[in-house]
């Protein structure tokens, strides 16, 4: 036993410089992530600024009960889930498709130019992109001008509740699909070319090769990214929705994040309740992540942590 402790002591001493390098990072995570996590006790309290987080009065699960008895909160939960599962459907596959197409494209130079075009919006802020998209879809914007010039009726895309969500997915794809496709393209370039040769010998066409060779070969990448996406199922992209939201589409666009924001800053704030909503969101995310990971493992996949 004591020799074991001695050995531990030695390896700690040997790693002393490593610990030194860790210090700034540990301080950062402790101060900005773990200290706020302890602030989650607020979710079980009625916040009183004078008494502070720790002095405030305990209220048990009252804040959580209030989530389910507040219609606006329930709507926000439903919208969040609806928007995010739709995102899995309408956003997740798009970069994979784009990667397959780019992979099929002839001409190295033009390929690079195109990839530049697809990727650059990722580096712009949502303030910029949403302003540009709003301009594009405005009543006197380019899309409506084209519609009008072909004799169609102008559509108010931005204030139409039925069109708001599709616009959300479209805009997100426009901004992020190129960037997200890079990781798939990287995975595709790592595929052994002899597999394609063999497939060609067997008479497989281009689409068949994409379906039977490329997709199965990048399966691991797809699964990993899918699990990560599921783990964010309660985060619907606050900034994008916040910028594109307006009163006429509030009913379909109010998500948990925008809801937390508005109850905290626009009305009489109840920090305890806001924190409870946030915590509820975080917990669901964690549950989703762990269960997606578990299900993938059950199905014989590798899961997130190997």
């Amino acid at each position: 036993m004591s020799s074991r402790l001695r050995r531990l002591g030695i390896s700690i001493w040997q790693a002393r410089y490593i610990y030194l390098l860790l210090i700034p990072g540990i301080v950062y995570f402790a101060v900005f992530h773990y200290a706020p996590m302890s602030g989650l006790v607020l979710a079980f309290k009625k916040y009183n600024a004078k008494l502070g987080i720790w002095g405030s009065q305990w209220v048990g699960m009252a804040n959580f009960q209030r989530i389910f008895t507040t219609p606006a909160a329930v709507t926000a939960i439903r919208n969040t889930l609806e928007i995010n599962f739709s995102r899995l459907l309408f956003q997740f596959p798009v970069p994979i498709l784009l990667a397959l197409l780019i992979n099929e494209m002839r001409g190295t130079k033009i390929k690079r130019v195109y990839q530049t075009v697809y990727t650059f919006p990722h580096f712009l802020s949502w303030v910029v992109v949403s302003a540009i998209i709003s301009n594009f879809f405005a009543n006197n914007g380019m899309i409506n001008t084209i519609i009008a010039s072909t004799g169609g009726e102008r559509i108010s895309f931005l204030s139409n509740a039925a069109l708001f969500r599709p616009l959300l997915y479209f805009t997100h794809n426009l901004k992020e699909m190129g960037w997200s496709s890079i990781i798939y393209i990287a995975a595709i370039t790592a595929i052994d070319p002899t597999l394609y040769e063999a497939a060609t010998m067997d008479g497989a066409g281009r689409l068949q090769q994409a379906w039977h060779v490329t997709l199965p070969c990048i399966r691991a990448t797809i699964i990993t990214l899918f699990i990560l996406q599921v783990g964010r199922v309660m985060n619907s992209g606050f900034e994008q929705i916040f910028y594109m939201q307006n009163p006429s589409v509030k009913g379909v666009s109010e998500i948990l994040d925008t809801y937390i924001y508005s109850i905290t800053f626009n009305a009489v704030p109840s920090y305890g309740f806001s924190t409870a909503v946030g915590m509820f969101k975080s917990v669901i995310n964690l549950i989703m992540l762990v269960s997606a990971n578990y299900i993938i493992k059950l199905l014989g996949g590798n899961g997130l942590l190997g």
């Binding site: 700690i12 790693a15 410089y17 490593i18 030194l20 390098l21 990072g25 540990i26 950062y28 900005f32 992530h33 706020p36 996590m37 302890s38 989650l40 607020l42 784009l98 197409l101 099929e104 494209m105 002839r106 195109y114 990727t119 580096f123 712009l124 802020s125 303030v127 910029v128 302003a131 540009i132 301009n135 594009f136 405005a138 009543n139 914007g141 380019m142 084209i146 108010s156 931005l158 204030s159 426009l174 890079i182 990781i183 990287a186 995975a187 394609y196 060609t200 281009r206 689409l207 090769q209 379906w211 900034e239 910028y243 937390i260 924190t275 946030g278 969101k281 975080s282 995310n285 964690l286």
Partner: protein, 300 residues
């Protein structure tokens, strides 16, 4: 699915010169996609360079009918945006230096063996999926006296767990012999880190430095929450308020048709000004980011 293209076009042999129908189909789809992305941006550029009158007559045109830099002039004269630029440049530079230093040191440490590594790594990963959320984080900032301070943004925004994980796998991929050779020469971990590992990871570090800088440049949420005085406002918050002024006008009416056209030009000019620095760095960024992502995809 399998039969939608004629058999002759389906071979994937890359050396053939002649384009098949399939090649054209791929080319056309990808070209349309690229145009779809470029059009809104091009449209915005044109509007920002137009006069009021030209825009009122033809809100959509392929080139500015009456070229004018007045929208840009107005923004520069107003000065609000230049305060935003100053603050954001300050925050971006200092924030990138500090958070890259912390991230790289942590990533390197996690690529070595030491007692307690697993636990610490797990604790770090956990923050990716679970957080205190907005209010506890805000109250913590308040406790640290970081409200209305640029330091709050500098210290908080830049460190990313995801970046650390990828940097870590970058360090893990460096050959062990180099480290062993240095150790035989009597170098300790710090010397190895600064003299051997950092120079080897040049491209990866460049990539993540630029990613971090972009994150600071585009940061909006915490600057909006933390900064109150107008002298400390960042670029994105200033930009947002310029854009929102026009949007609020649109909210009042039923549609955007009777929105003040001048403000639309100013809006687009502001957006362009905020974009330009990123677009200047983008070519350098692009050279490296594929490598950065690929290192990530190996280990993810």
């Amino acid at each position: 699915m399998h039969t939608s293209l004629p058999q002759k076009t389906l071979s994937a042999a890359p050396k053939r010169k002649k384009w098949t129908k399939g090649d054209y189909a791929v080319f056309i789809i990808l070209t349309l996609t690229a145009l779809l992305i470029l059009m809104p941006f091009y449209n915005a550029v044109v509007i920002s360079l137009e006069t009021n009158r030209a825009y009122a007559l033809h809100p959509v045109s392929l080139y500015p009918a009456e070229f004018s830099l007045k929208n840009y002039q107005y923004l520069i004269d107003k000065g609000q945006l230049s305060i935003g630029f100053q603050n954001t440049i300050l925050i971006t530079i200092s924030g990138t230096v500090l958070s890259m230093a912390a991230s790289v040191m942590m990533a390197y440490a996690f690529s070595r063996k030491f007692p307690g590594k697993k636990l610490l790594f797990l604790l770090m990963m956990f923050t990716m999926f679970f957080s205190g959320g907005m209010i506890p984080t805000y109250l913590q900032m308040k406790a640290l006296k970081l409200i209305d301070s640029r330091w709050g943004i500098i210290l908080f925004v830049g460190v990313s767990t995801y970046n650390i994980v990828i940097l870590k796998s970058g360090f893990e991929q460096t050959p062990v012999d180099l480290e062993d050779a240095a150790k035989i020469d009597g170098a300790n971990d710090l010397v190895i880190f600064f003299r051997v590992m950092l120079p080897l990871q040049g491209p990866l570090l460049a990539t993540f430095t630029l990613f971090t800088a972009v994150a600071y440049w585009n940061e909006w949420f915490w600057s909006m929450l933390l900064i109150n005085s107008s002298g400390k406002m960042t670029l994105q918050t200033v930009l947002r308020s310029i854009v929102a002024e026009a949007a609020a006008a649109a909210d009042v009416s039923t549609g955007e048709a009777d929105l003040d056209v001048f403000s639309q030009g100013v809006k687009m000019a502001a957006v362009m000004m905020a974009m330009v620095p990123i677009m200047c760095f983008y070519p350098f960024l692009q050279k490296y980011f594929v490598k950065g992502v690929m290192v990530g995809s190996v280990k993810m």
